[in-house]
């Protein structure tokens, strides 16, 4: 019987060793340890043994069972590992296939750039003011030192709704409306649509966007104008940007200045974008004309201020090197997806 147990053990270990998968191992378990298994039947026949033999054989039988169980357990563990590894390799996918996503849309490039500009000025304490697009001649021209028959009216070809109502040609009327409504200190930008009767071509659009700025307080100087716009230019176009102010003429500022920035493409060396000059004209600005302050109900002997205005499309075109202004208003989805 002892020999029998040893044989069973050897046979079982051998079979477990040979088993390739969990099914075969289960078969082996049933064959040797099951209710009708080899070991069980031997244990059942132990009744015929002498009392001296019984504990010895019993002990041996238990040892054999434990050995087989252990062997089974180890083999099973090994087989499971192998099976898992096999499954993992079967489950390999082509991770270069496209992801599944819900499409995210996009803001118009003009909105994107405008938002960026708004944030910069917001950070400098500017709030956003608004005004009507269909505007009184008074706000658009008269109050800005541009009386009827002023040559500047020819330079800004105006759409008229009636003798006294126009489509605003600039965002500057918001200056007057703001001064009428809030008292200094004033620090606002006023972005918005403006209109000029320019025929549509690659660089002209009858509708475009401007951003007006106005600061009024005691002791505001031209140096503050420079400081504000220089900071804006560096934040928007990059820290390395240099600015240059040139005298100019606007009826509603005195002194007036145009600001150029060093070309962001060639860093001022001269290229296609800046037409070789190294500079790009960005905006018009100046100290608010005392007559304009008075029109806004502000005493120029007490307060001073500066104002500026820039064309948004121009800046967006320079920034993205877009060569045709019409693209902004065509809304071809392939264009809108690029920004």
């Amino acid at each position: 019987m002892e020999q029998q147990l040893k044989n069973i053990k050897a046979e079982a270990i051998e079979e477990i060793r040979k088993a390739k998968d969990s099914l075969k191992l289960d078969e082996a378990r049933v064959k040797f340890l099951g209710k009708k298994g080899a070991l069980t039947s031997i244990l059942r026949s132990m009744g015929g043994l002498s009392p001296q033999e019984r504990p010895i054989i019993g002990k041996l039988a238990n040892e054999v069972r434990e050995d087989i169980e252990r062997a089974l357990e180890e083999a099973l563990k090994e087989v499971k590992e192998k099976e898992k590894a096999a499954r993992l390799s079967l489950e390999s996918i082509d991770i270069t296939m496209p992801g599944r996503n819900s499409e995210i849309g996009n803001l118009h490039p003009i909105t994107k750039v405008l938002d960026e500009i708004k944030e910069i000025f917001f950070g400098m304490g500017f709030s956003i003011a608004e005004g009507p697009e269909v505007e009184l001649d008074y706000y658009n021209f008269e109050a800005l030192n541009i009386p009827k028959n002023h040559p500047a009216r020819d330079e800004q070809d105006t759409f008229y709704i009636s003798d006294s109502v126009v489509l605003r040609t600039q965002t500057s009327p918001v200056q007057i409306r703001t001064m009428e409504n809030i008292k200094p200190p004033i620090r606002i930008i006023a972005p918005g649509r403006v209109y000029r009767s320019d025929a549509v071509d690659a660089t002209h659009s009858p509708t475009f966007h401007q951003i007006e700025g106005l600061v009024v307080d005691k002791g505001i100087t031209m140096a503050n104008l420079y400081g504000t716009l220089d900071t804006f230019a560096k934040k928007f176009f990059g820290e390395k940007t240099r600015t240059r102010f040139r005298p100019h003429h606007f009826p509603f500022t005195e002194p007036s200045a145009e600001m150029d920035i060093s070309c962001h493409v060639c860093d001022g060396k001269g290229c296609r974008v800046c037409k070789g000059s190294g500079w790009i004209e960005i905006l018009g600005s100046g100290m608010v004309h005392p007559d304009v302050l008075r029109k806004g109900g502000i005493d120029p002997e007490v307060y001073s201020g500066f104002a500026f205005g820039m064309g948004l499309e121009r800046i967006v075109m320079k920034k993205f090197e877009i060569d045709d202004i019409r693209l902004f208003y065509e809304n071809d989805i392939r264009f809108l997806k690029q920004f």
């Binding site: 304490g125 709030s127 489509l167 307080d217 005195e254």
Partner: protein, 787 residues
Amino acid sequence: MKVPYKWLCEYVNIDKNINEAADALTISGSKVEEVIEFGKEIDRVVTGKIIKTEKHPDADKLTICKVDVKDEVIQIVTGASNIKEGDIVPVALHGSSLPGGVKIKKGKLRGVESNGMLCSEVELGIADENSVHGIMILKEDTPIGEDIKKILGLEGGIIDFEITSNRADCFSVYGIAREAAATFDKELKKIETSFNETDDSIDNYLSVEVKSSLCRRYAARMIKDVKIGPSPEWMQEKLRQCDIRPINNIVDITNYVMLELGQPMHAFDYRYVKGKKIIVRTAQDDEKFKTLDGVERNLNSSMLVIADGERPIGIAGVMGGENSEIKEDTTAVIFECANFDGTNVRLTSKKLGLRTDASSKYEKDIDPNLIDIALNRACHLVELLGAGKVAKGVIDIYENRVEPYTLKVSPEWINKFLGIEIEKEEMRKILKNLEMKVYGDDVFEIEVPTFRQDVKIKEDVAEEIIRIYGYDKIPVKKIIGETVEAQWTLEQTLIKKVKNVMVSCGLYEAMTYSFISPKVFSLINLPENHELRNTVNILNPLGEDFSVMKTTGIPSLLECLKRNYKRDNKEVKLFEISKVYIPSGNQLPNEYDKLIIGMYGKVDFFDLKGVIENLLNVLGIDKAEFEREENSSIFHPGRTAKLLVRKKNAGILGEIHPNVAENYEIEDRVYVAEIDLKTLFDAAKNEKRYKPLPKFPAVSRDIAMLLDENISVSDIEKAILREGKELIESVKLFDVYKGKQIPEGLRSLAFSLTFRAEDRTLKDEEVNKVHESIINRLKEKFNAQLR
């Protein structure tokens, strides 16, 4: 305005090259549009003296020259035959360039080394092929080793300035010279104006009468014994460089003075001035007049004319008449030197469609006192050119003399205003260089010359000082003082939210024009008398397509969809936040912000509705309802909803009517919404409040039933919620089925109901009871059959 650089330098010794000068003038306020350089392409060409010549050993026509270019003697082989030892010639050195992109390099000609090239006028680009032959021989006293551009005066060029409307005084070479003198702190040379008069007085020949105040001053001079002929080359060259065609000496003098001083002049042939008289008057309506260019003009009473005793002989400030023009046999001339109202000249020129050099100067309102120097200068030139004799005396009608203007400003205020520290004496010098007289010390009393009518207030003086002192010297300073807190308005915040939702829903932002064609109302099927056809109209539109302000944003966005569709873009989802302009009965219309959505491709009504629901959700609007809309002519009668927010109409969404889609040539279903943002924003809740998470579990029950297909899902949902009372938490449609096994006219709807109590775990019996009553209610009210 074009200014030849050499001409400019005749009045002020600038002592800089043309580009440096142009940059400096730009920075001081005379903006340069363009610099046209003459000798730009010439580089490394110097003067050299031929010290020895010998025949080429292997070529009869070639000569070997030894040329002294000061620093060295170089050997050059040339094919030219017009040179001899001792000649001074232009020498293109090794590595030099010539016009047309020609580069000169060392080489061998028939085996003999040649280290450059002797140049002809043609090669230097200063003469054309046929006019000269051979190498250019320079004057004997020409220094050698000098840059040829300097020797030939090719260093200059033309500077094209942009003159702003307030600076009529800069609209001349001398005006720019005055700016240059101040900019470079150099002396401005006086203009030579001396001449002799004959004994014969102008009064024997002419009288002038000014009948309109639009003529501020009228001065005339008589030139006798005129000999018409060409003007000298130096004068012609300057005129040509300024784009004026030389005609004859008399006409050229008037144009020369206009370019030089900015004062337009005119010359009449005295023979044709009838009645020995000039009358300045307004034209009669429908008066006909043929201008110098041979075109017959129809005048009216708003225009000012120069007439003789019988008829107009010129349109004031614009153009003279054919009837009195200078001819080859002209022997007596009247010089007109006058000042007219700028606005009137501008309007006349606009009405006639005739803009001339004279009108563009007059329209900027030039200084009436400029006439004195200009008329004398013209007479001086007549004498200089030997073109005639100046009769004694001048007729000068000048009633309201313009006097210099005086204003006071303290240097201290200027520094404070600019945020800079400029020395008082520096300011004084700048103003003096600009020909302003400065008196006083702590407070400057400044006498502004009459040609600077733009300087009226102390801020103007500040600008004069800083632009010459240097805009670049103003420091960069942050604003100090009371801090101003920036904030977004509620509306600005909400607009940002709307845009964010749209983008997250996969929509792309569009921007369209604010004006539309009135024809688009028919394209979107709007009835004839619809209120949206009442538009704000543009009096002077670019064309019908841009002639009225939008009252709805739908047509413009459909236009974008059409464009995309035509370009074969398969999936397009756009939105725009667009203003509409609604006549208000007041002067200004009301402007409202609308959200317009437009989409086609793999989308249907519920994709569009989902976008709107997301938006309502983000804005915190809970009292919103969608109501069936069957009566909009723009939309599909069965696939359109009205959005009600707090019972107010907030807009419309749905599938575009196939007729409209057809009008826009889109063969796909198109979904569009137009939502009024103000109505949404009025209902938006910005403050969200935390609600504790449920502590007790929920119980779910499903209901599937057959219902008449005309019963709306929202009615069922409402009934379930009402019947479920406080125990029902939510109801959700999860299946809709029509077709096989479902009788005609019915549909199967399946809902998932969630029950929950805040304070306890619900017992089955409780739930069953509510569920039961819901089912009974549905059976009763909608004749629902459970499945």
